[in-house]
Symmetry: C2
């Protein structure tokens, strides 16, 4: 007998990928219940050749549900995840609502699968920019502990939702055509630009970092259960539709050569090494779209620090960065 | 009496900005001689209300010239700069041909003006990505020596020349319209993407770094005359027309607070501090175009390293990164 799955936020960019990923991976779901706001209720979505109607999310939506995949914003998760848990479901939450909660495991299945068993009803999916980085760092961490990470990101607009993709595309066209376009989502022009701000107006904390940057700092420590890993991050939005890229500088306790790193990375599940610079082969956002793997290349010994490596990490932020990781957690649960 | 100036590479993206900058800054030129390849010879360009004909660059082009501004590629500089020097001119070379030559000063006028006097006929303009970084680091270096720099760049396509701008724009339109476009300059799709490669097919060195990355490492040390500054760089092309952005992590010998840094930066010539994140104010490539200043913001204490700061540096790569810096050197020469 199969499993009943509810998707909260079924009409969003991540929700749509959750549906596709469940089907593509033959997740043994005997029911996929699509939940969204009142606005979307009644809309029909084709799933496995069947028309499914989107239902309005209420506190009673979770009867008979075994797994709830949440991706409708932190406040929705805070309000409705407890109802799902009360109804007997395990929630895999893609928002930041519970990530730093000490009773909530924060899981990347290839990195810390053991944390799943400790859940008390809710398991948190890390932030997209964190997931692809910790996944690549895991096989290297298994060789030598990590002392410090300096990361700068090149993040796709789809991280800000389906409407953000449209806004970037329409703004791009307006700039090419010399016409005007009214911005609604991004704080500044995002087309043909680089915005050193992820998140909305309230994104900045007192220390000058954005929430997104602090997520990379804190989530990395929690996922590795290693308070000695120090992280500093600069997170930047660029005009890419899908696929986050990251320039990552990692200092290890002991030296890892580029060859050792390549070998360990190539042997690890979910990672593809694309590292042949002489032939101009390295990970690219444009080539990661729709793929489950996380890509790493531009591996170099850091000339400024003996035990450090530089690398370039790319993954589809809607898949491994969100929907896929959540579905992988659900797969481990059943 | 004025000065005769020759511009080698007058039809290029940087050459065009050199002409504009000379005029805009009222450079006391009694002649501006425009030199380019055979292909461009005979074309007319309006300069100060006068039609100037582009002349073919030959070894005899420099008679009577006092200052030669070169920006037509390294091989042209190597071949023709010696002829200009022989004719009595001082060459300000914007290519990488002579930058690391020990007899050639490498100059950012605000940083190491004293080096100009040591020239033996040629003065090198540093690489665009280096100039804006060392300019911002100078007032901080004056407070505390720099131990280490970890930099990731977000570079505009205009750094690859005027045709590269067109290619990126046409590729962008083709992707929006779902049509095809043949790429000639970039190794991969540059529209809606992030390419961790600056330069052509031969850009990569044996150590895995690109020439562009190694320029940032070596030029920084040379400009500061400080072999103890260690630098590691990841240089990336993004779909921006003009304006390089840089995520820079700097470790100092002694701690500099964000407030001290802001104060020193604001007082330094050529630097504008844009650092009010609560109001979403920080440097943006889209806003630096056509401006002489270099912009810095997102100043933060690095939480992973006691004496380090993070910052976001933006400047017009064709101006301070190329034409303006060359003209500033010429101004110091006369």
């Amino acid at each position: 007998m199969g499993v009943s799955v509810a998707i909260v936020g079924a009409t969003g960019a991540v929700g749509q990928e959750m549906i596709k990923t469940l089907i593509d991976r033959n997740f043994p779901a005997d029911e996929i219940r699509l939940l969204a706001s009142h606005r979307s209720a009644g809309k029909k979505v084709e799933v496995r050749g069947e028309e499914l109607e989107i239902q309005e999310l209420t506190h009673e939506s979770f009867e008979g549900i075994r797994i709830g995949l949440f991706s409708a914003g932190g406040s929705i998760s805070k309000e409705f995840a407890p109802s799902a848990v009360k109804a007997g479901a395990v929630v895999v939450d893609n928002t930041s609502a519970f990530r730093m909660d000490e009773n909530t495991p924060l899981v990347v299945p290839e990195v810390n699968p053991g944390a799943i068993a400790k859940h008390k009803g809710i398991i948190a999916n890390p932030n997209c920019s964190t997931i692809q980085m910790v996944l690549v760092l895991k096989p290297l961490y298994d060789i030598s502990r990590i002392k410090r990470i300096v990361v700068s990101t090149y993040q796709a607009v789809s991280g800000a939702g389906a409407k953000a993709i449209l806004e970037m595309q329409e703004e791009t066209r307006a700039l090419l055509d010399g016409t005007t376009y009214e911005r609604k989502i991004f704080p500044h022009q995002v087309a043909f630009n680089a915005l050193p701000q992820i998140g909305q107006k309230n994104a900045f904390q007192e220390n000058g970092y954005t929430d997104e940057e602090m997520k990379m700092v804190k989530e990395t420590v929690k996922i590795f259960s290693d308070p000695n890993i120090r992280v500093t991050a600069t997170t930047v939005r660029i005009p890419v539709v899908r696929g986050h890229s990251e320039s990552v500088n990692v200092e290890f306790e002991n030296k890892i050569t580029v060859e050792e790193a390549r070998k360990a990375l190539a042997a690890f599940p979910g990672i593809v090494v694309q590292d042949d610079p002489k032939n101009q082969i390295y990970p690219l956002a444009s080539e990661c779209v729709g793929k489950y793997e996380t890509f790493v290349g531009r591996l170099r010994q850091d000339l400024s620090c003996e035990n450090a490596l530089n690398m370039w990490i790319v993954s589809d932020n809607l898949l491994k960065g969100a929907a896929l990781n959540a579905v992988q957690i659900a797969e481990k649960l059943i």
